[in-house]
């Protein structure tokens, strides 16, 4: 294991933990919980450690470790941030599940699936090769089918089936795109696409690879049409997995049908890691090789804008909390895709930051809805009301998350939306910028409706005895809210970090 690339550990450790959980879960379920949670905590601290190391520019990763030979997969800032987010969200969900499902059997399998999902997502964000990305994205998809349908009720099965039926063809589109990419670029790694590495020439690789630019790529400022087709096919596949209009059909059902903590995981990370991360990566690569305009970026902007609108309008009419949060997710992912489509460095930084923020606030909102479900027994907004007096912590953390989503200063959401709107304005896309601002107002509107209905207002009689959920369950949400507030206040520190990305 000498020269093992350290980021390999990010993938291998949770995978090993998953197997341990599955095997130990029968005899000693508490041990399984502990393993899962400790793994995630370890992951968070390792990610923070690497971020600080990387920021201090002390760390040159060995590009080709002995064990994982050729695929260089050390991260730049984006990957590190994603690793941190993955572990953060997984930890919050795992911690919540420990306290909520205290009497549940089959916990070994559940935590094993959870850790394996995290392992696969780490594989996604550290991969430097499109095919590796595809394999890990499939692994994430399989674990999430199982997690969505885990409870076994009809809603979970329906959500899982719809997700499967849209996600499997999307994977095939990604494969078609990869095959065309093999044809144009001679290989599937990011480096091959940017023309920096000639893949698979034998012995030179260990010392760092030859640098023979492939003449057909990027000879002008515009993209080669073949590469455009390849990346376009792949983008279609990844857009389905992110839940962007017009491929968003599976999102409301999957989020609603899954168990609430699983929905938190899905919304917080799976859509981001499996879908949007790849979209942003592709746009980053395109920015490197074709600084001129490109049709893919424009198409992404249109899809992003449509998602914002459909998500926002859809959310207004929903009556069930998880479904409304699903539509809100569609809308926020639309912001990310819109910014990614623009492609300027400012816009990409905004997209990445909004991705991180969205993970934090959606996770905390979904965990709060799980708390509501646990205490009050239902998530139907027509039946709930006036719970602020009974469940103050849940109410106030929800309000923090909602305000952050809507982009109210000084919370973190405000900064990311501001960057996106500024980037749009600077690049001359005034129409899109105005749209983004108006949609923010709409976001605020529907969240105010949600708050008013659920937390304030009159309390129906049946909920008079609702207790607050126990404090340990609240811990993840409190952590997330604290992060939101802290990131909002300490924004200049974050800014320098992002700009390097």
């Amino acid at each position: 294991m000498i020269n093992l690339n350290p980021t390999a550990l990010f993938v291998l450790v949770p995978a090993a933990a998953a197997i341990a959980c599955a095997l130990l879960g029968k005899k000693r379920p508490r041990l399984a919980d502990a393993i899962a949670n400790l793994t995630f905590l370890g992951g968070i601290s390792a990610a923070v450690y690497y971020i600080r190391l990387h920021a201090a520019n002390n760390f040159i990763a060995p590009k080709y470790g002995r064990l994982f030979y050729m695929i260089d997969f050390f991260g730049d800032n984006f990957s590190l941030l994603m690793l941190f987010t993955i572990y953060l969200v997984s930890f919050c969900v795992a911690f919540y599940c420990v306290w909520r499902y205290r009497e549940r059997e089959r916990r070994g399998t559940f935590f094993a699936l959870l850790t394996l999902c995290a392992a696969a997502m780490c594989g996604v964000v550290t991969a430097r090769d499109f095919f590796t990305l595809y394999v890990f994205v499939e692994a994430v998809a399989v674990t999430s089918y199982a997690l969505i349908a885990f409870e076994g009720d009809a809603g979970g099965c329906e959500g899982a089936v719809k997700y499967f039926l849209l996600s499997a063809p999307a994977s095939m589109f990604i494969v078609f795109g990869i095959s065309i990419l093999v044809l144009c670029a001679g290989g599937t790694s990011f480096g091959a696409l940017t023309g920096q590495i000639t893949p698979y020439l034998s012995a030179d690789v260990i010392s760092g690879g030859g640098r023979i630019p492939l003449a057909t790529l990027a000879s002008t400022q515009m993209l080669n049409p073949a590469v455009t087709l390849a990346l376009g096919l792949m983008l279609c596949g990844f857009l389905v997995k992110s839940g962007v209009v017009p491929f968003h059909g599976w999102v409301p059902d999957a989020y609603q049908g899954a168990n609430a903590p699983v929905s938190a995981l899905l919304a917080g990370i799976v859509t981001k890691a499996a879908g949007v991360y790849a979209v942003i990566r592709i746009m980053m690569i395109i920015r490197e090789i074709a600084p001129g305009g490109n049709p893919l970026g424009q198409a992404l902007m249109i899809f992003g804008a449509l998602s914002i609108l459909v998500g926002a309008f859809g959310a207004v009419f929903q009556r069930e909390i998880k479904r409304m949060l699903a539509y809100s997710s569609i809308s926020q992912v639309g912001y990310i895709v819109l910014a990614a489509g623009l492609g300027t460095p400012l816009a990409l930084a905004g997209a990445i930051f909004h991705l991180f923020n969205h993970a934090t606030f959606k996770t905390s909102l979904f965990l709060n809805s799980a708390a509501l479900e646990e205490s009050a027994g239902t998530t139907d907004m027509r039946k709930l009301g006036g719970l602020e007096a009974r469940m103050p912590w849940t109410a106030w953390t929800s309000i923090v998350a909602m305000l952050s989503t809507a982009g109210i200063p000084p919370l973190s959401g405000f900064w990311s939306k501001l960057i996106i709107i500024l980037a749009l304005w600077q690049a001359g896309a005034h129409g899109y910028a105005v749209l983004a601002i108006l949609a923010s107002a709409l976001t605020l509107a529907y969240f105010l409706i949600l708050q008013r209905k659920v937390f304030f207002g009159k309390t129906p009689a049946q909920f008079a005895k609702t207790k607050e959920v126990c404090f340990a369950t609240l811990t993840p949400v409190i952590i997330l809210s604290a992060i939101m507030i802290a990131v909002g206040l300490y924004f200049p520190v974050i800014w320098s970090f992002l700009v390097d990305a």
């Binding site: 076994g152 494969v175 093999v182 290989g187 698979y200």
Partner: protein, 101 residues
Amino acid sequence: MHSLAQTWFFVALTAFCGIYCLLVSRNILRLMLGVDLLSKAGVLALVACGQALGNVDLSQALAVIMIGVEVVVMAVGLALAVRVYAKTGSLDVWKLNSLKG
């Protein structure tokens, strides 16, 4: 006609069969069939492009891994279909509309 164009033609036809199957079917198991047809088209596309490139070994390696991925996805999909049948008693995908509102 160039052999790559030929092979891509057949890839497109097979993919079309798969997508058609996905669009038209109601039975979940038949939908899985559509997914599998798409996977075959994908394997063919990978190997065809590798062959046109000259580096068949690379695309063989990719195809081998992809076939492994495909079988796991199919197995999980079929298990999901059986689970749906056990839950709701029918395999009709249009009947799965309990989540509303």
